[in-house]
Symmetry: C2
Subunit: 388 residues, 2 copies
């Protein structure tokens, strides 16, 4: 099995770009990643690309060839759609392709435009990630779905809005130094607690924003990296994917996310590590409660213990295992189809030591990314490692 | 590299099912494939699934988990979208995953609902496979785009509507015995020539219909097949993918499809065969001219020679190398996200000897499938072989 290494990464600043096109956003991230990698255009074998709602936001399907051309490449391109895990599954299949010998150099990334849609339109568009027959027709939207999960967690394990507020405060603080983040604004626990209720018990500051942006990573085989003397110090050591029923009503239990647990177990086994080996993590905090569920699925905490992690300072930048040093989806922003590879970009920089927040984890050698689709009906976990 | 074999295949009858759901259609095909394979539910590692316009036709994104549940499976599921090549790229990535050791048992397939949309709505929905900025805003629809390609071919190489009519006649004749085909109606060259012009020079009988349907294939590793004594006599010997610029205006030349040529060359090299070794082919004849371009990209004919193949009887059921014995997209129908794996289903049956038209190729050992997206901005070619 071929080793997979990260040769270059790129991001747009996340934010509101209703006047830009999706191909333009992706090109910016892709060219930044290509520039870092320094690999000649003709060596690229494939493009793997995540996008969630391009049909609705831009009237553009079949985006693979469109964004490959925008990135200056003329190789085959495939688009993946797994809701908010679209770029995560694209990344996983790019890894599988290199491992199987099908490619040596792959550009993988994602893009989402959301701010060109109106508020109710974007809420409706996001809802297509839920089950249309059994959830959407009954009025479910994503804030509502995650509110059900938060309520189930509170009922099962305890915890309250103040615990969740500490997660929002932590992630806003982390985003302050991240030039690519959508928000650069510190908030307090009081700010979060006093913010308007969106879907009880979740308030405005429990939710990530609506974001436009793109991310890109250049993956290469170990052989290619060695033969070409590339500076690619981070390798993809493990990959895992899990699935669950799309509709919450079809699940036995709403206070855990077994698809992510399965993805994590698979990724750890693949990398031959345990949760204790993980130094730093980027997790899918589309809502604050989602960060809690992620911490427990990743095996960092027993069920019911994750909710207090931020309040106890264990996942803050000064904690033992910082989580979402990028600012997370909460404060960095969440262009849904771009998030999976954006997490990989942030983690790669953290491990290489060239992230604005690398000083929080100077000795980090193992990082994990956790990307979820829908109400974690899809989950993808990757383990990145600094090479010796 | 692990060998990849086909353990089971399934289809719905293609046709008009505006009253059915997509998950219901996919379940029918998937359960038929699972039934043939006879593999226990718990052994399935992944679902790979192609769908093109589910957001527009059903308001349902994130279909991977939805269709996995409908198919009775609880493993991770990924949706691919590459326009009319959606299931073809899903199939290719399923092959790559097994080859790389990432899975032993994979359900791969596709589904499309189209007839619940009105005529102008479905035409607009299909158009999102073209370049929104540079083609769709200028009024391009797919009949128009393929008409440009047909006109370019006629201008460059000659040929006329009568040559194209022979392709439609051949594919309608082949569909007569295919119980899964949408059309069971023989037509004559005169019928085709007298049918209304859709986009000059293409007439109604040059175009495939609007189709609902689903297809599914169970892929297994060679090791798994051997250890479990499976009856899986057909193997995936070669896989290739090519890409081109999305917009016709960005290409140098409209009378050839280089993405398919690249995909074919890659698949032949992968299988260590030449075009001369191919006994039978299923190609992407969304329009009759597309079959001509496919024959030439597959290396069966020199540029300019493919247009007369059906008229000369070389690709008919009695010819040396029959093409589209299933009836092709033209007469079998074209539920766009399902077509790539539907071709694999038909080819598997032809090679196993249990297709209604297997008697036309009793000694066939090597078959090729050719699946295209957009105006062949995406192309996927696979080589299937009967094992000794």
């Amino acid at each position: 099995m071929n080793d997979v290494r990260i040769a270059g990464v790129g991001l747009t600043k996340f934010g509101r770009y209703p006047e830009r096109t999706g191909r333009d956003l992706f090109a910016e991230a892709a060219l930044a990643a290509r520039d870092e990698a320094g690999i000649s255009r003709g060596d690229y074998d494939e493009v793997h690309y995540g996008n969630f709602m391009g049909e609705l936001a831009e009237g553009q399907g079949h985006q693979g060839p469109v964004v490959a051309e925008a990135a200056g490449l003329d190789c085959p391109a495939t688009r993946y759609e797994s809701a908010c895990a679209s770029a995560g599954v694209a990344f996983r299949q790019a890894v599988q392709t290199i491992r199987g010998g099908g490619a040596d150099v792959v550009l993988v990334g994602g893009m989402e435009r959301m701010n060109n849609l109106g508020t109710s339109e974007v809420t409706r568009s996001l809802a297509i990630a839920a089950d249309e027959l059994f959830e959407v027709r009954a009025g479910v939207t994503f804030p509502g779905a995650y509110a059900l999960m938060a309520r189930a967690y509170f009922d099962e394990f305890g915890g309250d809005n103040e615990d969740l507020a500490h997660i929002a405060v932590k992630n806003h603080a982390n985003a302050m130094t991240n030039e690519y983040a959508q928000f650069h604004r510190e908030i307090t626990v009081e700010d979060a607690l006093e913010s308007p209720v969106v879907a009880d018990p979740l308030t405005l500051y429990d939710a990530c924003p609506i974001t436009d942006g793109a991310s890109a990573v250049v993956l290469v085989s170990g052989d290619y990296a060695d033969e070409n003397g590339l500076d690619a110090p981070v390798r993809v050591a493990g990959s895992g994917q899990g699935g669950d029923k799309a509709a919450l009503q079809d699940r036995e239990y709403l206070a855990q996310t077994p698809a992510a647990t399965k993805a994590a177990e698979m990724a750890y086994a693949d990398a031959a590590i345990t949760p204790d080996d993980v130094d730093v993590a980027e997790v899918h905090d589309c809502f604050t409660i989602a960060e809690v569920l992620a911490l427990e699925s990743l095996g960092f905490y027993e069920p019911g213990e994750g909710i207090g992690a931020a309040a106890r300072g264990e996942t803050t930048r000064d904690g033992d295992r910082p989580v979402n040093l990028s600012g997370g989806l909460k404060a960095k922003g969440h262009p849904v189809g771009a998030t999976g590879t954006a997490q990989v970009v942030e983690m790669t920089k953290l491990l290489r030591g060239d992230h604005a927040n690398s000083d929080a984890v100077p000795d980090a050698r193992v990082g994990v990314t956790h990307n979820a689709g829908g109400t974690v009906a899809s989950a993808v976990v990757h383990v990145l490692e600094v090479m010796n």
